[in-house]
């Protein structure tokens, strides 16, 4: 069908953006989320409570609302392109969820590990980096795989900021070809499905490879 010769180029233009938004959101989300988790588990109680509150609020609000709040907040302060505003908003949202994942993974490492590390003279910092985190990582992969799929799907939300990712491209296309809207959205759905599918399978394979022999 010649539809595809016109549709596909449109979508490919958007795919780049989709992948970038996702990568930024997941990447920043991981870094910031891990920091939050570490502060929450190992930090002082007051800090822990503040972070718990912060994470709780973000996880209770619709992503689209958070996206808009952060966008308008950022727009007041800094002048960012919609692409960066959208990506960073998703990053902030994802960091809250990822902090829960990392926290769960850290807590699943038995306390004795930290005690053993300190008893051979490691500082807290060294123990966290060399003993706790390597073990926590293995517990993290399944829930993180889930979060990655969620962020991939959430990237569709930034279209409301005008960011030209694949959903917006599909809209442009169906605007120009008003007889075939279904095809456009179906193609988008297929692309998302392929992305989430590959991500999940890939992370499953990774999990198997780094498994500690039991």
């Amino acid at each position: 069908m010649e539809i595809f010769t016109t549709l596909i180029p449109y979508l490919l233009r958007g795919l780049n953006i989709t992948l970038s938004v996702t990568a930024i959101a997941l990447g920043f989300g991981l870094v910031f989320g891990t920091l939050l988790a570490i502060m929450r588990v190992y930090g002082n109680p007051a800090l822990s409570r503040v972070i718990t509150l912060y994470v709780g609020v973000i996880r209770s609000l619709p992503h689209i609302l958070l996206l808009l709040i952060i966008y308008f907040l950022i727009a007041r302060i800094v002048n960012l392109s919609p692409f960066w505003a959208g990506s960073l908003s998703l990053a902030i949202i994802s960091s809250a969820y990822q902090s829960e994942i990392v926290r769960g993974a850290i807590l699943s490492v038995p306390n004795g590990q930290m005690i053993a590390a300190r008893s051979i003279g490691m500082t807290r910092r060294q123990a966290i980096i060399h003993v706790v985190i390597p073990q926590a990582i293995r517990h993290m992969i399944p829930p993180w795989s889930n979060e990655a799929a969620i962020v991939i799907k959430d990237s569709s939300l930034v279209y409301i900021l005008g960011v030209p990712e694949i959903l917006r491209q599909a809209q442009y296309y169906s605007g120009r070809n008003p007889t075939k809207p279904f095809n456009a959205y179906l193609a988008v759905a297929v692309i998302y499905f392929v992305l989430t599918f590959l991500t999940n399978r890939g992370l499953d394979a990774l999990e198997k490879r780094i498994r500690i022999p039991a």
């Binding site: 609020v57 209770s60 619709p62 609302l65 958070l66 007041r76 759905a189 499905f193 989430t196 599918f197």
Partner: protein, 225 residues
């Protein structure tokens, strides 16, 4: 105008939007439940071909954004001459989506019930259907409550995307408000507070339900034989 003056105008309108949000949430959850429970049992006890079909259904619905599913129904189906209203499109898309997730939650609950329960039921002469109805399902319902509570909260959050198809729920109302008063940030913060309060109340209520339905000695973490 100051914030409190604004609130006196905004709150009644937001409450109207809230009612719509609730309505959509409840209907979609209901549809999801009607799909999820049978699908979960089919997934666990059904013939191979049916299992594969359910798995495919789940993978597709969970692997694509809800927004895209909504657009497929609302903007896409007219290509084939099938036009649904925004509301109906919402119910279909959100209902199916919820159905996929609920299938997984119920499946988890069913599989957490030890196989011994089914064996004991069959060994006194029950048919498979009787065993499912009288022994497995009542226990599965209790095991699924925490995950289902999650789904309720999740659905309330998801209903916010309906503002993109002009269903007059809270986010749509918010948009109208800030279009008139030029204060998007305050408006959205206000909506945010609404969501926090609503979700807080719902979480509390669901906690009560969980307590009421508890069976002494039947904890979710224990695998009683």
């Amino acid at each position: 105008m100051d914030y409190f003056e604004y609130l006196t105008i905004a709150i009644p309108k937001l409450l109207d939007g809230l009612v719509i949000s609730f309505q959509v949430t409840l209907v979609s959850l209901g549809i999801g439940l009607l799909i999820g429970v049978p699908a979960a049992f089919a997934r666990v006890y059904g013939p191979k071909w049916l299992k594969r079909f359910v798995i495919a259904f789940i993978e597709v619905l969970r692997g694509t954004p809800v927004l895209v599913q909504l657009f497929l129904v609302y903007y896409g189906l007219p290509q084939f001459g099938v036009t649904f209203s925004a509301y109906t499109s919402a119910y279909i898309a959100l209902g199916l989506n919820s159905g996929a997730y609920q299938t997984e939650y119920f499946r988890g609950a069913i599989q957490a019930i030890s196989s011994g329960q089914m064996q004991a039921a069959r060994s006194i002469g029950m048919t498979r259907l009787q065993a499912i109805r009288l022994v497995i399902l009542p226990q599965a319902i209790r095991l699924v409550i925490p995950a289902w509570s999650n789904e309720v909260v999740s659905m309330i959050k998801i209903s916010s995307i309906l503002y993109l198809v002009a269903v007059p729920e809270m986010m749509t109302v918010a948009r109208e408000l800030y279009a008139r008063y030029f204060n998007p940030f305050q408006t959205y913060i206000t909506v945010g507070i609404f969501y926090l309060i609503i979700i807080g109340i719902i979480a509390f209520l669901l906690g009560l339900v969980e307590k009421r339905m508890k069976i002494p000695g039947m904890e979710l973490s224990e695998r009683n034989a």
